[in-house]
């Protein structure tokens, strides 16, 4: 990891800043910032409608494009989840949900939500919009590549959606796509469906690599004057680490996609041992299905953090701004993000405790997994300590942050169950797992996304979202989602296995019928309550209260652009110069309760600001 050595530099950096700026007392020297290293970036300015809004090279527009595309696929995923829940809660109520269709819904829901919705939304959407603004760059470093990245993603989504309409329908292999079952006739969509899925994933990886290079290099190499790594908002740290993970984890996905495509189309036997199906020995032989699982989870586990880390980062910023207090233990937060990211490459097989891998791996992976619990727990502590003796605005954004903390702590703790190998054995492949990961990487990141939308909507559109509708939206979503997934853990305790189209009358499951019905109803309500959100966004675009500059009184750079919403090139004529971290809220001795990052020290001479 690139950031492994950050801490070491801090004392040295402090020294150097003392020698360069702190030696004399005059205000000019206090404000000294190293001169620019880089020349101005020359940008391509679109002229026509097409170059301005469609094939646009402005990261902000690309971010919105990513956001909208991801939300569209997310809505498809949401509808699929209703259909699944309808079958589970009220079997045979909807006649067209057959077992084949049910499994196709399960698969597409999972894949869409994890990859095409959450990953694309956090990194493609928020990443594109916020990175250049928050680090003080005019745009991403390679705007053209960035544009191609979005269109690759768009094509990937189209290919994915196309699989709904091919003969045999989309793949029903489960989102993990485990071979041999994924490419054998016993699984729905094992011909065109799975091929389109693999092609779509490969396209996604290629597109994402282009975007990821942009995010990483913009953050590492295109920051503005004064913006050290340790002055970046945690949002950027989260997105940066997640992108670094993605660059190193997606290759494993790509490789497994290529190999499975070859198994399917050319009849190679990478993952395919001798198989006897329907009384016939297939032409495969000697391959290893577990290899796929290793490759998949070598991607899959970092993927979990690709979704979680940006959420961690964003929520830290939201909490800090709306609690009007600096984030507690910023340095530790950064180290926790980076540490979690690095460790996430050493824990993948905790998804495979009962997969039949070498049993001795259990010890290694249980240990590494529980080690991750430590930095994660520290982050949680820091969030709530930030709230302590703060001045908390109880607006929609803060509500979503609190909702995040509750669901994340809940999901994190059930994660300790599943990470600890002996505890995992009875619980794996049951509804406990479903409940756990929906809580921790479904609901919790969603809470952050929604909070972030309420927070940054004024920046993107120049208008505020309605607080009243926002609060209704929050309570429906939070209470609804919590009452879906909290009881679901208990289904897992009973031992109900996941991916069951129907339970029939298994003795220990009939008792849960009532709960299944309740969960289904809750899921429908939560889903429909998102209409409030959409309605809020659509109406606020035209009738929302004009936001003006910096409506939240935040410190970070994205609110300090000359125009709101920011124009192409972000900063007008002169790039901003940074003097501090973005968390100087309620500094003793300062006139206002916030000091923006661009405020030079000479203007707040009386404030007891700590050196950052």
């Amino acid at each position: 990891m690139s950031d492994e050595y950050n801490q070491k530099n801090t004392p040295i950096k402090a020294q150097s800043s003392e020698t360069t700026s702190g030696s004399s007392g005059s205000s000019k020297d206090i404000d000294y910032v190293r001169p620019a290293e880089l020349p101005e970036q020359d940008l391509y300015h679109g002229h026509s409608f097409i170059t301005k809004w469609i094939f646009c090279q402005d990261a902000k527009v690309i971010g919105v494009q990513y956001f909208l595309t991801a939300v569209f696929t997310g809505i498809v995923g949401l509808v699929l989840s209703w259909l699944m829940r309808l079958q589970l809660g009220f079997p045979e109520l909807v006649p067209f949900i057959t077992a084949e269709h049910y499994y196709q819904f399960v698969t597409m829901h999972g894949m869409i939500m994890v990859v095409y919705f959450l990953t694309a939304l956090f990194l493609g959407g928020f990443g594109n919009y916020l990175i250049p603004l928050m680090v003080g760059a005019r745009d991403m470093v390679f705007p053209y590549v960035n544009m191609v990245s979005f269109w690759m993603f768009f094509i990937a989504v189209c290919v994915l959606m196309a699989s709904f309409f091919v003969p045999g329908g989309p793949t029903g292999a489960g989102w993990t796509l485990y071979p041999p079952q994924a490419i054998l006739p016993g699984t729905p969509g094992s011909n065109m469906g799975i091929i389109l899925m693999l092609v779509s994933l490969s396209l996604f990886v290629i597109g994402f690599t282009m975007g990821g290079l942009n995010y990483i290099i913009t953050i590492l190499q295109a920051r503005t004057r004064g913006m050290t790594l340790m002055r970046m908002p945690l949002t950027i740290w989260g997105i940066f680490t997640a992108t670094a993970l993605a660059m190193l984890a997606f290759p494993a996905l790509l490789v497994s996609c290529i190999m499975m495509t070859l198994d399917k189309m050319l009849g190679t036997s990478f993952f395919m041992p001798t198989i006897l199906q329907a009384g016939e020995v297939l032409s495969y032989g000697g391959g290893s299905p577990v290899l796929f699982q290793h490759l998949f989870w070598f991607f899959g586990h970092p993927e979990v953090y690709i979704v979680a880390l940006p959420a961690f980062g964003i929520v830290s910023d939201l909490i800090s701004v709306h609690a009007r207090k600096n984030i507690f233990g910023y340095r530790m937060m950064v180290w926790a993000i980076v540490g979690i990211g690095a460790l996430s490459f050493f824990v993948w097989a905790h998804h495979m405790y009962v997969s039949g891998m070498n049993p001795w791996f259990g010890f290694f992976f249980a240990t590494t997994t529980l080690i991750i619990a430590v930095p994660t727990a520290l982050k949680v502590y820091n969030w709530i300590i930030t709230l302590f003796r703060a001045n908390i605005r109880m607006n929609t954004v803060m509500l979503f942050c609190l909702g995040f903390i509750v669901t994340f702590v809940n999901g994190g703790i059930t994660g300790i169950f599943l990470g600890n190998v002996a505890v995992d054995i009875p619980l794996s492949d049951t509804y406990f797992v479903i409940a756990h990961f929906h809580m921790v990487m479904g609901i919790a990141p969603l809470m952050v996304i929604m909070g972030a939308v309420y927070h940054w909507f004024p920046l993107v559109t120049g208008r505020m979202l309605s607080e009243k509708l926002g609060k209704w939206h929050f309570w429906f979503t939070f209470l609804g989602a919590y009452s879906i997934y909290f009881p679901m853990h208990y289904l897992g305790f009973i031992g109900v296995p996941r991916r069951y189209f129907e339970m029939y009358d298994s003795p220990y499951v009939t008792s849960a019928t009532g709960m299944n019905e309740f969960i289904t109803v809750a899921a429908l309500i939560v889903g429909f309550s998102q209409l409030i959100f959409i309605y809020n966004i659509v109406t606020s675009l035209s009738i929302g209260k004009p936001a003006g500059k910096n409506p939240w009184k935040a410190n970070s750079l994205e609110w300090l652009t000359p125009e709101v919403p920011p124009a192409h090139g972000n900063w007008g004529e002169k790039l901003p110069v940074i003097h501090r971290w973005p968390y100087d809220f309620n500094v003793p001795g300062a006139k206002e309760d916030y000091i923006t990052q661009t405020t030079p020290p000479s203007e707040v001479i009386s404030a007891e600001v700590e050196k950052t």
């Binding site: 990891m1 690139s2 492994e4 050595y5 880089l38 020349p39 190193l248 041992p273 001798t274 032989g285 000697g286 290893s288 577990v290 290899l291 290793h294 070598f298 490459f345 050493f346 097989a349 891998m357 070498n358 001795w360 791996f361 290694f364």
Partner: protein, 112 residues
């Protein structure tokens, strides 16, 4: 832009001799690793030699042809640390492969 170019010029116009040296060394090392097969060394010796020549060649290409030797440590470290993840993956997969072949030999009587 100018400044950066100048720096690059400083950083990479090394004497031609060094490239020719490395080039020659690569040829020699390739020849050696080919000889490992030619003389049909087996077992530990074969593996030791293969790996030594491989890493030497890879190291020379990276260090000199790809200029990593002259790059600042920040870049070098960013590029090399992620390899620990790969190393871990290799080690565990080697163990996994051994385990797979073990169960196959124990319970199957023809190819798995």
């Amino acid at each position: 832009m100018n400044e950066i170019e100048n720096k690059e010029t400083v950083a990479s116009t090394h004497k031609i001799g060094i490239y020719l040296w490395i080039w020659g060394l690569l040829f020699v090392l390739s020849f050696f690793s080919y000889m490992v097969d030619w003389f049909q060394f087996q077992g530990l010796l074969r593996w030791t030699l293969i790996l030594i020549f491989m890493f030497l060649k890879a190291g020379l290409i990276m260090a000199f042809f790809m200029h990593l030797f002259w790059e600042r440590y920040a870049l070098v470290n960013v590029l090399l640390w992620p390899m620990t993840a790969i190393a871990c993956f290799i080690g565990l997969m080697a163990a996994e492969a051994k385990y797979t072949v073990l169960t196959r030999l124990l319970y199957f009587f023809t190819g798995g």
